[in-house]
Symmetry: C2
Subunit: 511 residues, 2 copies
């Protein structure tokens, strides 16, 4: 493909992409096909001779598009959203063109420096405490990670190394010695990472990757599925009793199941109760709901992170208009990261790194190389401006509130399970035979309600007009509806509600 | 930015990208600027109101491009290349447009299925043994990872879990019990990962991430910096003596410093000597040189991986025409991975995953979500065809051979340190006062030669006409020259040689 062929191919691709976005609202959200649909459509072996762009684009149209789950559809109300916007696509184009592994400053100074600057922009846009800025005296800073899972696994490793180092150095041993390695290995097996049972599975996976234990704090519907101080204390005390050393705690701002917000102030107070607990690395996982912080009215939440929090991550690629991957991670003291991950061989050295005058992001992540992802964030923040980003958050939260009100308006059919918010409503279908529960009480366990709710959920997804997810919280089967993507509109929210009501009535009549 | 604004912005970006590529050969490879150049050029805060694409693109031109290290330049001869090609950029455009975290099949069937199919294409193109195909009876398969570092860290974790599970199950304990967790934690501290001292630093970093020990096998110039069977045996025996349990071995096909190839057959024979050594997970890191396998004349090397190798990775984003990130990882038994990494909560379940009829790539990597990277690989393989890919490899290897011959032709000035190959020549400037070493003997340690070589290297890079790297092998300071990117041409190789000769003569005259 020469330059002229590329120009016309790219123009054709742009038109095709525009056409795709135009068609998205009318497409079935979930493709109606069986696993293995694609293999018979693709040759068994790669071609020997070059093929033309026309052939390739034709196949994208006829073989790929029909197999996509359309996350941009306004009828996509499952999981959490995965945004893409036009300026973000432009960022990806430039990122590809400027390809550089950029594992250190010298490998592409613009790539490193723009990341530092843009991370400071993001921290300011989210109203994060100044301790997370790269310019802070405490040596804070931000880094773009592939995903929240990578961010959390990285924090676990950094926390493990920090805790073990403290323990071994306190015994008077010197790093680099055999005795040090032995004691380090003696200490590690006692370490335990803690999170609530509503924390994203990446916390348990991160603990596994780091080779440490994991304990979870239980949550209750009566407490809105939030991690509370007293329940955390129980787990910490049990660890103490078992001779385990808690080293990492994940607190969540917007859990995966219900978007609940852990009780930060209460939890931080518990961590102050014992010196060993004060040494626990505290991470805030705000992967989804963190996006709301761009709107001033939510920034009071971020004030909680000024003290007692070591790191914070959120995914711009969920609700903040940048396409995957754009997981932003902020850390209070970057030395905690680089002390853990820096393994510098000769071929990665360069004068500026040696002098410590530059940031080498290879020591901030599991990956060595990195893409120039700061560009797409920069492009989106400039194209929208802070006001555009705030407007997006406010509009979609408003749509979520409309949906929650619609559900509340049919109290004969539905019961809200947890406090709706941040575009998410979690509810179930009532058991028509159950006695009226007191208004305000939590959903009681009810197998009949579980069965009806599951049936409604499955029927809706099998028909593919909208796509929603279900989950189980505190033993109760519930449906989640979230509408927070850039194409979301009131008419789609109302349509989703109508489908849910219609399907519920259908299921109830069958009984 | 609306659809029409996007169309014209994208057209402008395409022209700008084409203009950038046109200008690359004439740009100084390394930007001439000091750390911190960018911050004064960018506003301290994100804009409140939206900005236009014209403003943004203007800033890319005036603020970003001058700060790039131009990896696509034919004068970039440092590290290893990081390719980008037109069809790969088209792949990124579609990947962004079709954004989906795609952590399981349902989240975008096309994304998952195309990855499986394309990984089989890649395995066939590289002539890998059939055991690495997704269709193999042994349940092999490939997955795209962010980088070789991620691939290797993931393999370490899978290997650690497999080894510990074997040890604990052999004692009759049952998974999920308290006793099992205790014994697992008892076993882990004895585990040790092994690699040669020429292995990429990601092996040591992977062992660190996995929380295990790391030991390296020394290499010698007399042995062309290859890991040998006898030297590995020494390390294994020392581990046995120290009560450590080797669980993971990285063998390298194309080391970072000198592109040496470890002695696979010899090493595998050593691993057969003891039952415990047979249980070691053997990983092949072919991050750079693995690309050569598309050319038939190198595929004999891959035959070594048919037995006794658990996993293999190479980075298409180095020498194989796909832009970062496209690190392909193949595994002999995917259950080794999913047994280690699968933590399935309710909200990630779906009927097809539960039945085991689909691949859920979230259990194949540290990241949960993933981009649709199979598209760019598919586009590149189709645009080039196998013949186009082979031609690229053969052309660039030929250029490397020309360069090595040029260096050999000035035996008065230069001495080749390790066997040149795969586009890389590793050499040093001779100490003019040293006695003529016997032809064929290895570079002797020589501080004067080190000093001159370093001076030549630094002078060349400071002038920025070409960009090369240096390293130290077996105590000898050497220069590495590699020219393997898509824009490489003979005239640039000859020009680089002329610059090196000229600079060497200049440095020698100053003495």
């Amino acid at each position: 493909m020469d330059r002229n062929e590329f120009r016309s191919a790219a123009h054709a691709a742009i038109d095709d992409i525009l056409g795709y976005f135009d068609s998205v609202p009318d497409r079935r959200v979930l493709p109606a096909l069986e696993p293995g649909y694609l293999r018979p459509l693709i040759p068994e072996n790669p071609p020997t001779e070059p093929e033309t762009w026309e052939q390739i684009q034709e196949d994208v149209d006829t073989k790929i598009k029909p197999g996509l789950t359309h996350w941009q559809s306004p009828n996509f109300m499952a999981y959490y959203p995965a945004s893409v916007t036009y300026p973000s696509i432009l960022g990806e184009m430039y990122s590809a063109a400027f390809t550089a592994p950029a594992f250190n400053w010298l490998c592409s100074p613009a790539c490193t420096e723009m990341e530092t600057i843009v991370m400071d922009w993001v921290a300011k846009a989210l109203g994060l405490p100044a301790c997370f800025l790269s310019t802070s005296e405490n040596l804070g800073g931000g880094v773009i990670q592939n995903s929240a899972s990578d961010a959390i696994a990285t924090m676990m490793v950094a926390a493990r190394e920090r805790r073990v180092r403290e323990l071994v150095l306190a015994e008077g041993l010197e790093e680099g010695t055999t005795e040090y390695e032995e004691r380090k290995m003696d200490c590690q097996p006692r370490l335990v990472a803690i999170a609530s049972d509503q924390t994203h599975s990446s916390a348990a996976k991160g603990a596994l990757i780091a080779g440490t234990r994991f304990r979870s704090v239980s949550t209750r519907l009566e407490e809105n599925m939030e991690m509370t101080g007293p329940r955390l204390r129980e787990v910490l005390e049990k660890c103490d009793k078992d001779g385990l050393v808690p080293y990492h705690l994940t607190m969540t701002f917007g859990t995966t199941n219900t978007c609940s917000v852990d009780r930060f102030a209460e939890i931080k107070a518990v961590l102050q109760e014992k010196p060993a607990w004060q040494r626990i690395w505290v991470h805030i996982d705000a992967a989804y709901a963190g996006a709301s912080l761009v709107a001033d009215e939510w920034q009071y939440i971020a004030k909680e992170f000024a003290e007692g929090v070591d790191s914070f991550n959120m995914n711009m690629h969920k609700w903040l208009l940048v396409n995957f991957d754009a997981s932003v991670l902020f850390i209070r003291n970057r030395l905690d990261l680089t002390n853990a991950l820096d393994i510098t061989p000769t071929y990665l050295r360069n004068p500026y790194s040696d002098m410590g005058t530059v940031i080498d992001y290879r020591n901030w992540s599991i990956s060595l190389g990195r893409r120039f992802r700061a560009l797409k964030i920069w492009f989106v923040m400039r194209s929208y401006g802070l006001n555009g980003m705030k407007a997006h958050i406010r509009k979609t939260i408003g749509l979520g509130n409309i949906f929650a009100d619609l559900i509340r308006g049919r109290a004969d059919l539905f019961e809200i399970a947890t406090k709706p918010g941040f575009c998410l409503t979690v509810f179930r279908v009532k058991n028509p035979q159950a006695q009226n529960s007191d208004s305000g009480a939590v959903c009681a366990k009810d197998e009949v309600a579980d069965g009806i709710t599951k049936k409604v959920y499955e029927l809706i997804n099998s028909r593919g007009e909208i796509f929603i997810t279900s989950t189980v919280v505190d033993g109760v089967y519930v449906i989640r509806v979230v509408s927070a993507n850039p194409m979301a509109e009131e008419k789609y929210v109302r349509n989703a509600f109508d489908i849910i009501v219609r399907t519920t009535e259908e299921v109830l009549q069958q009984k």
